[in-house]
Symmetry: D2
C-alpha cells in the first residue's frame, strides 16, 4: 500500500464522483487521499451522500468530504487529481491545479476542445497524449475523457476506420438517467416518457468524436473529415447509453472482416493496465443485444466491469453499415475513462507523483 | 342511429381491437354490430377482457365477444369489418370476408404488400385507392393501413417530398410497449432497459414507407426511389412511437419554407371525415418536444385525439434535415388509421353497406 | 361568463396549481382572474411552465403568471382564492388574504389543524363548516382540504363508521410521484425502486384522518377515538395513491351490508355541485382492482373525473375488514378537493363574492 | 472438486432455476451435474434461455438443459436435487424423486404444508428438520423453503418473539416483478401501475408464516397462535420484496432492546455454512431505508449476497411496533433459501450423497 500514488477526487459528491470513489477504493496503483466537493457536502461522510445502487466501498465510506483548494492539496503532497467537477467550475479550478503541479484527469467538458489538451480514449487515440509536449517542472498535466455518448461511438468506430473509410456517421442515442447526474431528471419528466433533447449533447458528441478520431499533425489535432450527425434522447434506464449507428462507407469489406476487426481489436493488450478491458469491444450475436440492463457491466477482468463497449445487430447493406453500440456512461464514459487515462499516462512514462 | 352502417370488429380482444371498440363506440357513421375473436375470448363481455387504461366504452362494455365466420357475418347483414386480426390468421380470413361481400379495413400486415391492395394513409397517398379498380358486385374491398412505425414517418415526409427531394431517410425508433400488443413484452424484459430489436419491424418500416410514398403507374404502385434505413428499438413507454429522422436531401429549401410546408399541410381539409385530425401534423417549437407522454394524444377535434402526428426539434444543416416525429401507435398507427381509411373510402364514393 | 365568480390561483406554477388551472378553466361558477406564483415563474405564460401530461387548458394557456400581494388581489376585486402555496409560505399569506376579505380554499397543510379552520371533505364532515362561525364583514373564510393520502382513507371510512365501529385503522400506502410535486422525486431515486418514507406523511395522515372523522362539540372538533397507524411509501406511478387498509372493528355486520353501505353512500346527491362525483365511492368487484393506472380518473360526470374514490378487494374476516382504496392525489386529494369545498361552501350559503 | 456433491437443478429454465444455477455454479460443496426442464427448453444451452440481468455463470453457460426422469437422475448417481418446479408439477415429481433416493430441496409450494415436510428457514426454525424423522435407506428427504413474501417476514419476527409476544401481525407488501417469474407480469399491466393482487399470495404468506413460527410437538408443527393479516401487491421493481409490518404486541420492551435483538441475532454463526449471511438481519438507521434498489443484495460474505434481510424505519408506539423489511425474493426468498437449507441439513448430519 505504501507505494500507491495518493490522489484526490474532486466533485466527489456527484454521480461520477461516486463512481470514481468506487473504482479507486481498492485500486492497485492509486490511493484516495482526499475527497473534495462544494460547501453543500462539506464535512459529510461519503456514505452519507451516497446515491449509487451499489453500497459505498467500505474502504472509503467513512471518508470525510472537504472543500480543498489547489494550495491545500499541494501542501498535502497530492500530485494527482481526478475531476468530476461541474462544467463552469472545472475550467479555472483544473487550470489552477495544473499550475500547482497537480496532474488532472478530468471528466469535465470545459477543457476537452483545448488544442493542447488530449481528449483521450487510449484504445483509439493514445498517440494524442503527445499534445502534452515534454514534462514541465512544477506543472501537472491535464488529460480529459470525452462525453459519455461519444465514448462508445468512437470505440466502435476505431477498428472500422481503414476498413470502411467512413464518410458520414448517423447516430441516435438512448441515454440513461445517470447521464444527467443526481438529482438530474425529475421522475415526472421521464416515467412513461422519452425526452428527445439533452442540452448541448448532440454538439458534444459530434465535435468530440471528430477530434478523437482526428490525426496529429504539427502537434495539433486535425479533426476527422467524417461528418457526424446525432440525435440525442433520454430514456428511463438507470445506466448505460445505447446508440443506433449508421455508417455511410466508401469501402466495401466483407461482413466477416468487419466482425473480425471488432473482435480482434485490443491495442492495449500488452500494457497491463488494471482498468483496461480485454477485449475492449465485445460483439454479441444474439438478435436483440446489446441491451442496457444486460450489457452495461460488460468488461473483463473484474476490475474492468463496465469498461467494455458492446456491439451488436450488425447489418451491412453497402454503403450503410448499421449496428447498435452500448457503453456504461458513468464507467467507460465517465469515471472509468479517466482512471484508465491515468493508468495509460503512467504506462507511457508520465510521472504522476510529482517527483519530476 | 338507424342509418349508421353496421360493422364488425375482428380480433376485438387484442390491444388494437380494443382501440377499435373505443373509436367506434359512438361513431357517427359506423355502428358496432359484432365483436369477433378466437375461442379464448369467446363468450366473454368486452369489459371482461379490457386492458386499456381508459375504461371500456359504456355503449359496448356489455357487448359479448363471439367467434364469427364470414358466412355468419354475411347472414347478419354485415358488409363492413375492421380487422385487428393477428398476422397469419388475417391472410385467409380477410380474403374470405371480401369474397363474401364484406369490405375489410385492416391493420394486419398480411395483405399490405399485395399489388392490388391499397396500403393507405389518406393524407399521403389517397390516390392509391384506385388500385381497387371498379366496384365488383358481391365482393367487398380490402384496404390496409401501414405498420405503426411507418405511419408517423410517411406523414412527416409527405409535405417534404417536392421541397426536399429526399434521397435517403435514416430513422431510429423509440417504440412503445403497446406496439407489441397484450401481453406483449414481459415487464422483466423491459423495466430499466431498451430492447434494440423488434421482429421484422425494420423491414416493414422500410418497405411499407417506400410503397406508400410510391406513385401509381398502370394500376400499380411503383415504390419510391428513396432509400430507407431503419433502426427499431423498444422502450418502456406505454403508448406513442417516437422516431429520430434524418433526411438526406437533394434540394436546399429555407427553414421557414419547411415549417410552413408542415404547418399548412391538410389535404383532407374539406372532406369532413369524423376521425381526420386538422391539422394532421402539429409542429412544436419547444426545445424538447415531441414526447410520448405529452404528445401522443395530439389531434383535434376531440374525436381525432391521437390521430395527429407531432414534429419537433427541426434542424436543417444541408444536406441533412433532422427532426423527431411522434405518433400514437395504436390510434394513428393502428385502429384510428383503419377507421379513417373507411371514412375516406366512403367519401370517395365506395359503398360500404353492400348495397351495390 | 358575466356572473362567474372571479378567483385567483396561488402557487399556480406547481403541480397542484396546474391541476387547479385545469379544473377551473371552464368551471361553471368560478372564473380564473389571476395566476400567482413566486419570482421564479413571474411573467411567464401558463403554457411555458406547464408540466402535466395533459395539454394546458386553451382558455388559460396564454394567461400570464404574476406575483400578487393580497392588497393587489383585493384591489382587483378578487374575493376568492385557491391556494396551492407551499408549506411555510401558506401560513402567513393565507391569513393575510383572509384579513383582506379574500376567502381561501387551500390545499396547503399549514392551517389544517387550526381549531377554527375546517379541514373539509364535504361527503364526510360537511358539518365542520360550522367552525367558521357567522360571516364577518370584510373578512374572508379559510377552508382547507386534507393531505392527499388522508382523503381516500376518510372517504372509504365514512360509510363504515356506524356499521363497523372501528377501533384501529392500519394503512400502508403506495403513493405516486406527483404527490411530491415537480421536480419532486429524482428519477434515479425511484426507477426500479420503492422509497418507504415520505417526510411527515404518516403524521399528517394519522392526525388529519382523526380530525376529519371527529365530531363537533362546542364549536370544536373532538378527534375520532380511532387509532390510526400508517406506513407511507413512494412508488413509481405518475398519479393516484393506492392504500391497503385494515380496520379492526367492534361490530360484525354482514359483507353485503358493507358493500351496500359503500355503494349507496352519496350525501351530496341533491346539492348539484359541479365537481362532486356521483357516486363518490365506486366499488370494483374484479379480483385485482383498484389500480392507479386504470382507476385514478374514476368519477362521473365528466367534470368530476378523478374525484371518485375507488374501493376493491374487500375481505372481511372479523374483527378485521381489509380492502384497498385508491384516489387521485392531485384531484380528489388536491386541487379538486378545494374546488369542491368552495362549491360546497357556496351551496351552504357562504358568499364568496365579497358582497356581504 | 472431486468431492463436491453432484446435484440436479429441476425447473432450471425459470427465473428461480437460473438463480439456482448462479448460486451453485462455483459452490464449494455442491456441483451441478444436471439441468432439467420441460420440453420447451429441452436441448438448449443455459446461456440460450438466460433471462437474468447478470450474465450466466461461465462454468455453466454451455451446459445443456434436458428432460430428466427420476430414474435417469438416479442412474446417473445423483442423490441431491434443487427444485424450482412449477406448482402442480412439483407435487408428484418431487415425491417420485424422494422415492428414488434423491433428496430434494424445493422452492415449490406443493409440499410446504405437508405435516412431515419441514418448511425451513434455518435461522428461524432449524429444529423443524426433526420432522424428517430418522434416515430411511434408499429414500431421500424433502425440505421446502417458504414463499418469497413469508421469508423476510419470519426472519424479522424471529428475534422479536419472546421480547414482544406478538398477537397480530399486519403486513402490506410491495413485491417485485421477478416474484412472478418469466415472462410473468406483462409490461402493459404494471408500467405506471400497482396491482393489488397476487394469486394465493396472501394465503401463503399467512399460513406459511404461522407454520414456520410454530412449535414442534409430538413430531408435528403446531402453528403459531399469532394472527397474520396480509395485503399483497405487485409494484414495478425488478427484484426485492419490501414489506410494511405492524406488530400488535403484548409485551413492552424498550426500543434499544429491540434493535439489539435484531442486530445480535445470528443463530447459524458457528456452523460455517457457505451461503449463510452474517448477520442474517441488517438494521438500517437512515430515515428512508430499506429500499429494493439499494438493499436487495445485502448479505456478507460475498457468497451470501442477497441473503440478508434488511430492517428499517423502526417505530415503536406500544402496542404497535412498525417497521419495513426487505429481502431478495429470488435469493433469500427463493433459490438461496433452498441452497442454505441443503447446507444446513448437511451440517446437521444428513447425508446428501446417498451413501447411507
Amino acid at each position: 500500500m505504501t507505494d500507491r500514488i495518493p490522489c484526490a477526487i474532486l466533485g466527489a459528491s456527484g454521480y461520477i464522483g461516486q463512481h470514481f470513489a468506487r473504482l479507486l477504493a481498492d485500486h492497485p496503483t492509486f490511493a484516495v487521499a482526499a475527497l473534495g466537493a462544494t460547501e453543500r457536502s462539506e464535512g459529510r461522510l461519503l456514505e452519507e451522500i451516497w446515491q449509487l445502487a451499489e453500497p459505498p466501498p467500505s474502504e472509503l465510506e467513512k471518508f470525510r468530504i472537504r472543500r480543498w483548494s489547489p494550495a491545500e492539496l499541494s501542501r498535502r503532497g497530492i500530485r494527482l487529481a481526478f475531476s468530476a467537477l461541474p462544467s463552469g467550475t472545472a475550467r479555472d479550478l483544473e487550470s489552477a491545479l495544473v499550475r500547482r503541479g497537480i496532474s488532472v484527469f478530468s471528466n469535465a467538458a470545459d477543457h476537452r476542445m483545448d488544442p493542447s489538451v488530449p481528449l483521450l480514449v487510449p484504445e483509439v487515440n493514445g498517440e494524442h497524449l503527445a499534445l502534452l509536449g515534454p514534462p514541465r517542472r512544477g506543472r501537472g498535466i491535464l488529460v480529459t475523457n470525452p462525453n459519455c455518448s461519444a465514448t462508445g461511438l468512437v470505440l466502435s468506430m476505431a477498428p472500422m476506420m481503414d476498413l470502411l473509410r467512413p464518410k458520414v456517421v448517423h447516430v441516435a442515442t438512448y441515454q440513461s438517467l445517470s447521464g444527467a447526474g443526481y438529482p438530474g431528471v425529475p421522475s415526472l419528466a421521464i416515467t412513461d416518457n422519452v425526452v428527445p433533447f439533452i442540452q448541448e449533447e448532440e454538439e458534444k458528441l459530434e465535435r468530440e468524436s471528430g477530434r478523437i478520431l482526428g490525426r496529429l499533425r504539427d502537434h495539433r489535432v486535425v479533426a476527422s473529415p467524417i461528418s457526424f450527425s446525432a440525435h440525442c434522447a433520454r430514456v428511463a434506464t438507470r445506466e448505460g447509453h445505447l446508440e443506433a449507428v449508421t455508417v455511410e462507407a466508401e469501402a466495401r469489406p466483407g461482413v466477416s472482416e468487419l466482425r473480425t476487426a471488432w473482435r480482434t481489436f485490443d491495442p492495449l493488450a500488452r500494457l497491463g493496465l488494471p482498468t483496461a478491458p480485454h477485449p475492449p469491444i465485445e460483439v454479441r450475436d444474439e438478435p436483440d443485444r446489446p441491451q442496457p440492463l444486460r450489457d452495461r457491466w460488460a468488461g473483463r477482468p473484474t476490475r474492468a466491469r463496465g469498461m467494455a463497449t458492446v456491439v451488436g445487430r450488425i447489418r451491412w447493406v453497402p454503403p450503410f453499415l448499421r449496428f447498435f453500440v452500448l457503453s456504461h456512461n458513468a464507467v467507460r464514459g465517465g469515471a472509468g475513462a479517466s482512471v484508465l487515462n491515468a493508468e495509460y499516462a503512467l504506462a507511457r512514462g508520465w510521472d504522476l507523483t510529482g517527483g519530476a
